[in-house]
């Protein structure tokens, strides 16, 4: 047996789960376990109590209301990959899921787990950054809604308090016909990316960009929105030059250097991948660039 001993709890109700988290000392939430269990097997993490959310029905489901797509935190990445609702309403998320791990890990890994783990090179936090998602947190004190910008607070750090869990994620739905693009570079399929870019473009009459979003991942301590790129795009006609100019704004990021890649190389990737993601987004919105 690899992990240190712990007690296991499998609540069926959200309220019961919240009470366990509020009262048990040194407790951790088990979602899909695809990041937590490896860390437990290495004994990087030793807990006294594990609260498995796998049987809490209230944390599942996909629903569309008031122009927003609401995803239960315990929906697996595979559930989302197969959802026609997500493919239609939030195609950027569907595109990104193809890059997440492997089928065996997507079958178990959840969207809530991915956001709570907050790996800076992970795909799903980057998608949430691009969409300006809202993360709904539950505890014995009730629910609170946190904009994604405020949810990630640093390297693998979030606004979650120890007694809170992610209940749901809300993504604002962009106008039908909007464009999206997602590109990452990883050494092997399924690895965390050295760098990646997620783009959304809403293009109106005359090819004028009505709204844009560009998020980068793998280049900072958390996913970044490139506000400068969005500012150069919005309100102007999209073309090859506009995309190159916007992608150049990615040059401003100051990525980390580690054994996998140097900061300069990551910055280069961020720029190239931003250009490709924006070009895909423009094409999918019906504009050849």
């Amino acid at each position: 047996m690899k992990p240190a001993p712990f007690d296991y709890h499998a609540p069926r109700q959200l309220k019961e789960a919240a009470e366990l988290l509020a009262t048990l000392p040194n407790a951790k939430i088990l979602a899909g376990g695809q990041s937590l269990v490896p860390m437990m097997n290495f004994r990087y993490i030793m807990v006294d109590h594990l609260v498995d959310l796998g049987r809490v029905h209230d944390l599942r489901g996909i629903a569309v209301a008031d122009g927003r797509l609401r995803i239960g935190a315990m929906m697996t990445q595979r559930d989302l990959e197969l959802s026609p609702e997500i493919a239609r309403q939030c195609p950027l998320l569907a595109e990104a899921l193809r890059h997440v791990g492997h089928r065996q890990t997507r079958n178990r890994g959840t969207i809530g787990g991915s956001l709570a783990h907050a790996d800076p090179a992970a795909e799903l936090p980057a998608v949430c950054a691009a969409y300006d998602a809202v993360v709904h947190l539950a505890s014995v004190r009730g629910m609170r809604a946190v904009p994604f910008r405020d949810f990630t607070t640093g390297y693998m750090a979030t606004a979650l308090t120890p007694d809170e869990m992610i209940a749901a994620i809300e993504l604002p739905i962009w106008r039908l016909g909007h464009g999206y693009g997602f590109h990452e570079f990883a050494r092997r399929q399924g690895d965390f990316a050295l760098a990646g870019a997620a783009a959304l473009l809403d293009i109106g009459a005359g090819g004028v960009v009505r709204r844009s979003a560009l998020a980068l991942f793998g280049v900072g301590e958390r996913p970044l929105r490139v506000d400068a790129a969005e500012a150069t795009l919005t309100g102007k006609a999209i073309d090859h030059v506009a995309i190159e100019t916007a992608a150049a704004a990615a040059w401003l990021v100051e990525p980390i250097s580690d054994i996998h890649a140097g900061g300069d190389y990551r910055r280069h990737l961020a720029q190239v991948l931003s250009g490709r993601a924006l070009a895909d987004a423009a094409r999918r919105a019906g504009v050849e660039v």
Partner: protein
Amino acid sequence: MAKQATRVTVNGKSHARLVEARLTLADFLRHELGLTGTHLGCEHGVCGACTVLVDGRSARSCLMFAVQANGCDVTTVEGLTPDGGLSLLQQAFMDHHGLQCGFCTPGMLVTLTELLRDNPDPSEQEVRQALTGNLCRCTGYAGIVAAALDTARRLSNGSGA
């Protein structure tokens, strides 16, 4: 840490045990049930040797606890093998030299069984994509991919499953 009850159906047979919560599903299968067909390579979710089907979906059994599988239906490599013979996929692995040392083979077979169930006519690219989560350190991927594609061909020719 009191032991906890878990009841798991494995290859069609129900097993109830009292286990430590930290017992992984992989160790449960191997040590409690004696089903040593499931192999453990890295024990941290990278190599894919321990892949089993949980409620019909592939999963790394080193990243699940036996207590999490309470009430689940698990299929291991032993469960893929029909009585008195090999499955079409297993036979194809033999025919195409799809196994050398054999350590990764159980995970490969389970992963490809899921793929061929959901996509009976995959392209080579789709087969390779499906296998990204399974490492073969003999690097015998060519034979494994050939075995999967040959199985797909035989399935589409209607020569039985």
